[in-house]
């Protein structure tokens, strides 16, 4: 068996990419964020519009709307969260596997919005950690896509290896 191929081989140049495992994992992750569409109110319609033909969320790898929390990565809270719904939202969030993210879509989910009343939770961030807030009542589908890109940026900077230390700090990379 010939073992000299380990060194430089001009035949496979361009077909092999060297990268760090962290970067590779974030690249995989950020291009297939499956949403859990928590369509609660009006924003849910814009969420549907973002998924439908014109705005086509699948360009960002997020067309796989999973109504089962166990199969999803990002929860898009679209709409007014009432106190009656709050525990259910929280329960669904807890059923999502790690790593998981949350987008608060619209004024109601971000802050309670125009519903300052006895029945409305004043922002979903009181019960969940939110990664991206989208303004608007409701936000346009473009705004949701922008939020998705923001989240992709965030994911690409996250560290995924167990001890959460950059490779540089662990002395594995020289330069």
């Amino acid at each position: 068996m010939n073992t000299t191929e380990i060194g430089y081989n001009s035949k496979i140049e361009g077909n092999v990419v060297h990268t760090r495992i962290d970067n590779a994992v974030s690249w995989f992750r950020k291009n297939s964020i499956w949403p859990m569409p928590m369509g609660l109110a009006c924003c849910g319609i814009e969420l549907m519009a973002a998924g439908a033909s014109r705005y086509d969320i699948s360009r960002f790898g997020s067309e796989v709307m999973r109504f089962s929390p166990r199969q999803s990565d990002v929860m898009i809270v679209a709409g007014t969260v009432t106190y009656k719904m709050a525990i259910a939202v929280r329960r669904i969030y807890e059923q999502m596997p790690e790593p998981k993210w949350v987008i608060a879509m619209g004024a109601c989910a971000s802050s309670g919005g125009m519903y300052r009343s006895y029945a409305t939770l004043q922002g979903v961030d009181r019960i969940l950690p939110v990664d991206v807030y989208v303004s608007g009542c409701p936000p346009r589908p473009e705004a949701l896509l922008e939020a998705l890109m923001k989240l992709q940026d965030k994911i690409s900077k996250e560290l995924h290896i167990k001890d959460k230390k950059p490779a540089r700090d662990r002395g594995l990379v020289l330069s």
Binding site: C42, A52, S53, F67, K84, S117, Y118
Partner: protein, 416 residues
């Protein structure tokens, strides 16, 4: 054209009843199943507590209120104009129609509903019908998606985007429109808008026929809907159903014909109504209503008169900004409207409008002044859903999505 073949399909309710007979001796323990509040077929946050006997529902208890935001309480703390944005978010599939219904209710209280300028009335009819088409398109798409035909949803959403473009040009927002004001509209039609609208009516007619081809004679769709969820005439009236759900049960009643408001008495349109009252009938009615709405839109474009869109009454409609800055009287009117609102007389009115989902009514109890003492919103979805606990038992588990889709409800309106 070749003659269409009549397709005979046995009644699926009968089939499930037969299945029930066969299962009698196999019946064992009943299972409790919780459907929702986050479930794709519940169109929002409806929750159903079901008791199942095998696949057959023996008890259903709808649980609502997951989107109760306190609209009626908020209304008591606001002047009449300030509440208009909240009406957008009742039936958020047809905000323009809600705006119109609310404005008409308050105008009835103020006693000016018959003094509105003609142009305003025509534009409001256009708003209502545009909203009806857009709501039915979504209702239809979601219904078809629930019973397994995703394609229709993508087609209808394409048309909805065109409606959104029109609405955006008209009001500045895609669907939280806040377009009407008490005594008029926030602005007149933009230039060239009616041409765009007539272009759209042609396109949407084609799209409706396309959806019709995809569904109306589709074997799977017919199988899932025909004979399922039959609501009899008596049940429909007893449970207070309104809109397409009422008309599906062989009752020819539409507020636009029975108690014409705006200019519906000058327009030529038909009211479709069903025979059996099953899911398929309700589907057919929505299809036909869209065609009729397109007809109304075309007539409105042809008949649209020129003139002002707002009532000429400084105590009700906000004066033009230019005049506020230059004239004392208008300045006072503007100040009074902003600080106190319209000075409504003491009294009570109920106004119901034929919305896409049914009769949307506003009951306003006023003790005088700019704020209602009590405002009750009679939401069609709330009433239409109350039939579920009566209707679902006896059906198969998989029929639930068909029945829910055909009832076409919106939780924002149901819970308020």
């Amino acid at each position: 054209m070749a003659e269409l073949k009549n397709i005979e399909i046995s009644d699926s309710a009968v089939r499930s009843a037969e299945a029930l007979d066969e299962l009698q001796d196999l019946q064992g323990e009943k299972m409790t199943l919780n459907m929702g509040p986050s479930h794709p077929a519940t169109h929002g946050v409806l929750r159903l507590s079901l008791e199942l006997d095998g696949e057959i529902i023996s008890k259903a208890d709808p649980e609502i209120g997951y989107l109760h935001r306190g609209d009626e309480k908020i209304a008591e703390n606001m002047t009449y104009n300030q509440f208009i944005p909240y009406t957008d978010r009742l039936d958020y599939l047809a905000p323009l129609a809600n705006n119109v219904a609310y404005a008409l209710a308050v105008e009835k209280l103020l006693g000016v509903d018959d003094k509105l300028p003609e142009r305003c009335k025509f534009i409001r009819v256009i708003c209502c019908e545009l909203a009806r088409v857009s709501a039915h398109l979504l209702g239809l798409g979601a219904f078809a998606m629930d019973v397994g035909a995703l394609t229709v949803f993508l087609h209808t959403f394409n048309e909805r985007e065109k409606i959104y473009n029109l609405i955006e040009a008209l009001t500045g927002a895609r669907f939280t429109t806040t377009y009407t004001r008490i005594g008029g509209l926030s602005r007149d039609l933009p230039e060239g808008w009616t041409e765009e609208l007539s272009k759209f009516t042609k396109e949407v007619s084609e799209a409706i026929e396309e959806a019709d081809k995809l569904l109306t004679r589709n074997k799977i769709f017919i199988d899932r809907t025909k004979g399922v969820g039959v609501i009899t005439r008596e049940e429909a009236i007893d449970f207070g159903l309104t809109g397409p759900n009422l008309r599906g049960s062989n009752i020819e009643y539409d507020l636009r014909k029975a108690h014409p408001y705006l200019v519906y008495d000058q327009l030529d349109f038909d009211i479709p109504y069903g025979e059996v009252g099953d899911c398929y009938d309700r589907y057919l009615i929505r299809m036909e209503e869209m065609r009729q709405s397109v007809r109304i839109l075309d007539q409105c474009i042809a008949k649209l008169p020129n003139g002002p869109v707002n009532l000429d009454d400084g105590k009700i409609v906000m004066p033009h900004k230019q005049k506020v800055l230059s004239s004392m009287e208008e300045l006072i009117h503007q100040f009074m409207l902003v600080t106190q609102g319209q000075n409504a007389p003491a009294g009570e009115v109920y106004f119901g409008a034929e919305n896409p989902k049914g009769e949307l009514g506003f009951y306003i109890f006023s003790k005088g002044g700019g704020v209602p003492h009590r405002m009750k919103i009679r939401a069609p979805s709330f009433v239409n859903l109350s039939i579920l606990s009566h209707k679902l038992p006896g059906h198969m588990m998989s029929d639930i999505v068909a029945i829910l889709g055909s009832l076409d409800f919106v939780m924002g309106e149901c819970d308020r």
